[in-house]
Symmetry: C2
Subunit: 250 residues, 2 copies
């Protein structure tokens, strides 16, 4: 199973000015593609912090996705930081520069051309109908922080990460967690499934949502049946119809 990490370069998220939309979106997409997301980290727009985190994670997962810090402004330090982490120079990529010149024409400014600066060794990955290719340096995919662009760029290259979807069902309970903990633990021992337990407080709908998932439907269905059989009927509010298989269509 492929693994991934997301690195958000985002003062605006750390300062609470902007709420992350990229990691939460990509987490769902990666799950649907069958990629195991191991880590999300938000660091400031500071080369030291970015280099440090890249050095730490890039060898521990198959793919790293960065978000942010790639515009033309002074706080856009991602390209330099990736280059420093891997010990290469930043170069003007001739193909990117040509794309920029052909797009802006006479109006091309130095600020626009700064977007052609990438770590030496960067591969341009095209796909879908995006105007600008995705910059890939080794196993690091350098994506923009603007949500619309982040999504369009990832979707353009998503197929290369596809492995197979997860199958997920939920059981909603009217119970407190302490009273069902043993039943849930037992379930993971008996079936090849992952069990999650998510309490709510003050929600009239339910008190716990139990999720059961695996790559195949059969063990999930069997575990759901076993769970319902093991609990007092009065606390089982409902069993959700299967979600998944086509999670990526959501």
């Amino acid at each position: 199973m492929q693994t991934a990490a997301i690195l958000l370069i985002g003062n605006e998220i750390l300062s609470g000015k902007i709420r992350d939309e990229n990691a939460s979106w990509l987490a769902v997409r990666l799950r649907a593609l069958g990629v195991n997301l191991r880590r999300i980290c938000v660091v400031p727009d500071e080369p030291d912090a970015i280099v440090d985190e890249l050095l730490r994670i890039h060898a521990t997962v198959d793919h790293v996705f960065t978000s942010g810090g790639v515009g033309p402004t002074h706080d856009d330090v991602t390209m330099d930081s990736v280059a420093r982490a891997f010990g290469v120079e930043v170069i003007d990529h001739p193909e990117l520069a040509a794309l920029i010149r052909s797009f802006y024409g006479e109006g091309t400014l130095a600020g626009h051309l700064r977007m052609a600066r990438v770590p030496d060794g960067t591969v341009l990955v095209a796909g879908g109908d995006i105007r600008w290719p995705v910059c890939q340096f080794q196993n690091v995919y350098i994506l923009p922080g603007v949500p619309q662009l982040f999504r369009a760029k990832f979707d353009a290259i998503a197929d290369r990460f596809r492995e197979g979807a997860f199958y997920l069902r939920s059981v909603f309970l009217d119970a407190d967690e302490g009273s069902v903990v043993d039943v849930l633990r037992d379930l993971e021992h008996r079936f090849p499934v992952a069990v999650g337990s998510y309490p709510r407080f003050g929600d009239p709908d339910h008190r716990i949502r139990v999720t059961i998932e695996a790559r195949a439907a059969a063990p999930v269905d069997a575990a759901v049946d076993a769970l319902v059989a093991a609990l007092p009927p009065a606390i089982v509010l409902r069993v959700e119809a299967p979600v998944g298989q086509r999670l990526d269509e959501k």
Copy 2:
């Protein structure tokens, strides 16, 4: 200025099942309190990942806030992981056990009492009107992942982190980033302010939001005036009234 890091223990966030509500909320609160949030990290519910991240961050910031993994279920591994990171044992905290017994009375189960297990040396911090105190181990505040409880517990202890608010203004532009990058860079050189630039695509309201902030109003107001004066009037859509001072009242 105090610094902080947030560590989310959250398989459910990495798998895209649940969207983070805690780090994004706490980022806003910390900013309003005058605390510099340096890092947000989401790791799986696995002791190795939690220990590793705690060891890495706890000495680099003043305060660490963890979210999640503290319920009674089998995937609640935070207390053990904090203990392991700091080389102490997990003990049954007599005061917590007494609170649990007095709350559940005759109905007290082993699952409930598991909530009294904390790293040896944990300090219970009470405040506000929360039923259960916050567990603090050295500079690590161990908070629950359920958003309602996370918020109530943080708010109960928020006063100890208060330092002073930020003052923030936004200027909305109809321009592309490349054409204003030099003006923005210049602004940070001339005034003691932090400048942010957030492009939108396909948004009829504006194309760039520029944020200018500092701990005092005067340099922010001066930088806003200087920015507006430096730009062609046609691209300045509007200047937002000051936000801040009482950001924490939001």
